[in-house]
């Protein structure tokens, strides 16, 4: 059936758990664009046939007209599916900058196609330049703070890091009392966890 593949593409993205990203399905995407080209060719053939018979393409309601209409509708439908696929992925890609940070882990990068990676870089750069102009880090304090310091446990080997008020050796399983703004990006990346008091 027409438009089946395009809908599969959308289904694939929608069936992921919320806020998760599926790998970019270039193969299926290409198949759908090829299907679009086929529809276009068929559509033109039918329109030409109507014109060759000397009929008015606007007013004629013969079998050729309805055939062309079906191809036209399938084309529009495929376009909508492709657009929705890219648009909804772009939404997630933008949110990555806020949730994960400017550097993406390999497991997520592998799921993006080239233009999405570029889009992420450009979005990240735009946000960075805005934040440096405002002299304000907008990506921290997503949870209203109670205390400027929090206690955290390190989950991964981060090593020696220069924090805003001190330099610390963040060895795995060590427990630290850090400034909240310093700890927040590490927690978002899954390298630390907050210890509940």
């Amino acid at each position: 059936m027409y438009g089946r593949k395009a809908c599969q593409l959308v289904k694939e993205l929608a069936s992921c758990e919320s806020e998760q990203l599926s790998a970019y399905n270039a193969d299926l995407f290409d198949q759908v664009t090829r299907e679009c080209s086929t529809h276009h060719v068929e559509l033109q053939t039918l329109i030409r046939k109507i014109q060759d018979e000397g009929l008015d393409t606007q007013a004629t309601k013969n079998p050729d007209h309805f055939g062309a209409l079906i191809h036209h509708l399938a084309l529009v439908r495929n376009k909508r599916c492709l657009m929705a696929y890219m648009y909804n992925r772009a939404d997630i890609v933008r949110s990555l900058r806020w949730k994960v940070g400017p550097v993406l882990p390999q497991e997520i990068l592998g799921k993006l196609n080239f233009s999405e990676t570029e889009y992420f870089k450009n979005h990240s750069a735009a946000l960075d330049s805005y934040m440096s102009e405002m002299e304000l880090d907008l990506t921290v304090d997503f949870v209203p703070p109670k205390d400027p310091y929090i206690q955290v446990r390190v989950l991964d080997d981060i090593g020696d890091v220069l924090l805003s008020d001190k330099s610390a050796n963040l060895a795995p399983h060590s427990i630290h009392f850090l400034k909240r703004t310093d700890a927040e990006p590490f927690i978002a990346q899954g390298l630390m966890e907050e210890l509940a008091n």
């Binding site: 059936m1 027409y2 438009g3 089946r4 809908c7 959308v10 289904k11 993205l13 929608a14 806020e19 998760q20 990203l21 068929e42 053939t45 039918l46 309601k61 079998p63 050729d64 309805f66 055939g67 062309a68 209409l69 079906i70 191809h71 509708l73 399938a74 439908r77 909508r80 599916c81 657009m83 929705a84 648009y87 909804n88 997630i92 949110s95 990555l96 949730k99 994960v100 882990p105 497991e107 997520i108 949870v143 929090i150 446990r153 989950l155 700890a183 927040e184 927690i187 978002a188 990346q189 899954g190 966890e193 907050e194 210890l195 509940a196």
Partner: protein, 187 residues
Amino acid sequence: MGDYYDMDEIMMEEELVSVVFQKAANGVVQIDPSAETNTVEPGSKVELPFWLAQELHMRQAVSINVPSCFDQKTRKEIQADVSCVDLRSRCPYFYELGCKIAPLIGEKTIGALLLYAFKCRYKDILIKGHNASSVALKSASLLTKEESGLYEAARSSMTAFKKWRMGGARYQRATILGKKRKSDECT
């Protein structure tokens, strides 16, 4: 028409409805699987996805039959015990499709049917959602897309409420990274 990029609407419109062609159409394969040529004859009965059926109906090229999920059998089941009817397997977009298709086929009773089914099931879903533990609900497989969204909303708001009352870690690993480190999260 709703949001152009809405994935749920796109998937809803992929639902098949049975139509009868009033006009012939040339140069189309795949539409009528029983046709030997690539022409669809008037009077042939085929299953079309809703997006195509709707547009063709507006141009009087096809007439739409009442989909099987709104037939007498389903209606009887809904009247008997509405919360036990497996609407998901009938049509995961039962309400949305019903709303869209009712004006097209001129079936006045569908609206009342949808309202009755939703009103009765809504209460049930909300009670279950608020009291559910983290394990998946057995009757969740009966719910349509819309209803499982409601159930999930009720469940998560209850979880958030409990978390707020008990306190606990407020900063979390970004959910998009997945749940790879399960052992670490449990500590």
